[in-house]
């Protein structure tokens, strides 16, 4: 759909739910969007002390995103479930290393989740197979709406709007890498675009998303 002239979505949508005051010295980031994700950092600090009740709460907050991401990348619920298990147990084990001064807990968890999903898909499925089976990844709004709380859906919609505001090649570059698990040379091949262009589009695509979502470190 390309660039929609002047249709940048409002970044304000991600700050709709200011029901809890953010800690003033905490990094402001996307997770300020919902109270559940905003509470993640203090929960993770409790998990770091071995608090299994806090871990259960962390599980409930992050698992839909962890499992959903793994499912999108791996396309097999069974593999996604295994990856989700590994990620959640890694969260439990690594929680003492989590440092909220270096980024949000949600980003910390999702970074681990994405690495594991991508490692798994690359170990088990050749890129060529994935390409044939899957074609290009459209940013389809196929997330499980039943599973989401209303506030989570608002966030997801805002992210969709920001994805839609990218140029085609920015969107394809970012989503083939993130949801397809492709390396940038593989993305370049699929889009029949020079490597350097893909690197640049990933970069300016993410920067544009960052600005659209109002992410600050």
């Amino acid at each position: 759909m390309g660039m929609a002239g002047g249709a940048m979505p409002s970044r304000a949508r991600l700050h709709l739910v200011p029901d809890l005051p953010a800690e003033s010295d905490a990094p402001k980031s996307l997770d300020s969007g919902t109270s559940a994700r905003r509470q993640l950092d203090p929960l993770l600090l409790r998990v770091a002390k071995g608090d299994d009740g806090a871990f259960a709460e962390v599980f409930d907050v992050v698992t839909p995103a962890v499992f959903g991401l793994a499912k999108r990348v791996l396309r097999q619920a069974e593999h996604a479930e295994e990856v989700a298990q590994e990620v959640l147990l890694e969260v439990w084990q690594q929680a003492p290393r989590f440092d909220p001064a270096r980024g949000s807990g949600f980003a910390w968890v999702m970074t681990m989740a994405h690495r594991r999903a991508v490692d798994r898909v690359r170990a088990t499925q050749a890129a060529s197979d994935r390409e044939v089976r899957d074609g290009r990844r459209s940013p389809a709004r196929d997330h499980d709406q039943v599973a989401e709380a209303v506030e989570g859906r608002l966030d997801a919609e805002a992210v969709h709007d920001c994805i839609d505001a990218l140029t085609d090649i920015q969107r394809e570059s970012v989503t083939l890498a993130y949801f397809g698990g492709f390396t940038y040379p593989e993305v370049a091949e699929q889009l029949q675009t020079p490597l350097g262009t893909i690197k640049t589009r990933m970069r300016d695509g993410l920067i544009r998303l960052r600005d659209c979502l109002g992410v600050t470190a």
């Binding site: 590994e86 690594q94 003492p96 980003a107 999702m110 690197k199």
Partner: protein, 244 residues
């Protein structure tokens, strides 16, 4: 060169670099404030993308994860790790990042197979080394897993990495072997049985590494006099045939 590396921040955050480039970029990161800021902001941005894929997890996942976490030791914090002696630190640093997680996966699998008290009481470093080796077996995508009941009580699962011959025997609910008796493990081929170790169960459970010789057709366990026997002297209480 630095300019080039800097341009890779987005691909790095999207896990779109190959392993070599990712390592190069990671090595470059600590000295590059701009890169660090980019990675941090882009990581928050990428995490937001995952929100569009949210999906209700399978029903049984929660209880499995919570049960396994309770048995899994946590890492030390960065502060605590600083007082660990140098050798330990070197080992810790040189361990690839996936290892801790794979060890976690091993516990998941061990739990799923029924060895629920897996190493919970061992000293932490011993447990870590063993669990890493066990994890390597269980992480093999070609791992062979066979499960069988043990006559006399309990059941066992045998997981073998076909490429290395390294195997893990997991068991739970095993009755005591009896006074002056031990459970002994065997690799069996056409020529007969070769001892691959004595089982060291803890309260009837074990997750034990076994090195299987090439060409073994089966794995077995029998009750033998304490200290073990050169050859099995009783009928096996467990026998698992391996795929050719």
């Amino acid at each position: 060169m630095n300019q080039d590396l800097h341009a890779l921040a987005a691909a790095f955050v999207l896990d779109a670099l190959d392993a070599g480039e990712a390592a190069e970029f990671e090595a470059h990161l600590p000295g590059c404030d701009v890169c660090m800021l980019d990675v941090r902001e882009m990581s928050e941005t990428a995490a937001a993308l995952a929100l569009t894929a949210s999906h209700a997890p399978p029903g049984g996942l929660r209880s499995v994860v919570l049960a396994n976490a309770r048995q899994l030791p946590q890492e030390r914090s960065a502060d605590e790790a600083d007082v660990v002696d140098l050798t330990a630190r070197r080992e810790r640093r040189s361990a690839p990042r996936w290892l801790a997680g794979v060890a976690a996966a091993a516990v998941v699998v061990a739990g799923a197979l029924g060895a629920t008290t897996y190493q919970a009481n061992q000293r932490a470093d011993e447990a870590q080394i063993a669990s890493e080796q066990i994890a390597t077996v269980l992480a093999d995508p070609n791992v062979i897993v066979e499960r069988a009941a043990i006559s006399g009580g309990g059941d066992g699962s045998f997981a073998m990495s076909p490429s290395s011959g390294d195997a893990v025997f997991l068991t739970a609910g095993l009755p005591d072997a009896g006074a002056d008796r031990t459970y002994q493990l065997w690799a069996i081929d056409e020529a007969g049985a070769t001892s691959v170790g004595l089982l060291e169960p803890d309260a009837g459970s074990a997750a034990q590494l076994v090195e299987m010789p090439d060409g073994a057709a089966a794995f077995g366990m029998s009750v033998e006099p304490a200290g073990g026997s050169p050859n099995p002297t009783t009928d096996p209480v467990l026998l698992v045939e391996l795929p050719a």
